[in-house]
Symmetry: C2
Subunit: 136 residues, 2 copies
């Protein structure tokens, strides 16, 4: 965990980053808190939030805003991808989007912005919920 440069490498940070890296999916603060507490019963929710913010600032994790109010987190560094969320069951699926570069250029031309990040979020119904509702 040499990525923590300047900051101290503490037990709770090591544990939390480790969990985020091992657990695949999109954890929220509370899920991470519960997982961490299972291994070290005295981690606190404040520390979870503080660590998530730190990891985000250091570029180690990405914060996702799905439909729910609270945030979800996942490791950063893999292939850039985007998300679809199911309105029926909440399922989240990832996909790669071959249009982002073109979109970026296009939007940059149109707005004059220097664009750093693009996020594509879609919503709809997953295969299972489609047939359950029979044709939405």
């Amino acid at each position: 965990m040499q990525e923590l440069k300047g900051q101290r490498v503490t037990n709770q940070r090591r544990l939390l980053l480790d969990l985020i890296r091992r657990v695949e999916g999109h954890l929220d603060a509370d899920e991470l808190y519960r997982l961490a507490k299972a291994r070290d019963p005295h981690v606190s929710l404040s520390t979870v939030y503080r660590s998530l913010r730190l990891f985000k600032e250091l570029g180690l994790v990405e914060e996702r805003h799905f439909i729910e109010e609270h945030h979800h987190y996942e490791v950063k560094g893999g292939i850039e991808h985007h998300h679809v969320v199911c309105h029926g069951c909440g399922k989240v699926m990832e996909f790669e989007c071959p249009f982002v570069e073109r979109m970026k250029k296009d939007a940059s031309n149109k707005t004059g912005f220097h664009i750093l990040g693009v996020e594509v979020s879609m919503e709809g119904y997953c295969d299972r919920c489609q047939e359950r509702i029979e044709g939405v």
Copy 2:
């Protein structure tokens, strides 16, 4: 305001919807509350929230989730568009995105989802902030 069908057409609803329609931009609940109170001092913040939810359910307004925690609202019905937000000054610009249809199909094929909505959000620096920071 015949769009309110079944529900009652009240003074505060008329006023609020009117304001959202007149004021261009992306209002948040508090801004709308202040504007409304200027015209009718006894509208309440609860009613603003309740009305926003109603308008959203009726498809009269769209809720936007920019960088800040709280939501912003704008009239629905014009041309579908997307947003860039400036990290320097918070400025929001709109643009039309010619790729959404293709993206939708592509993501639908890849995930099996029946996709209803696509939202593209970008972040970066506006022209003004670019030169202020001289090359980010």
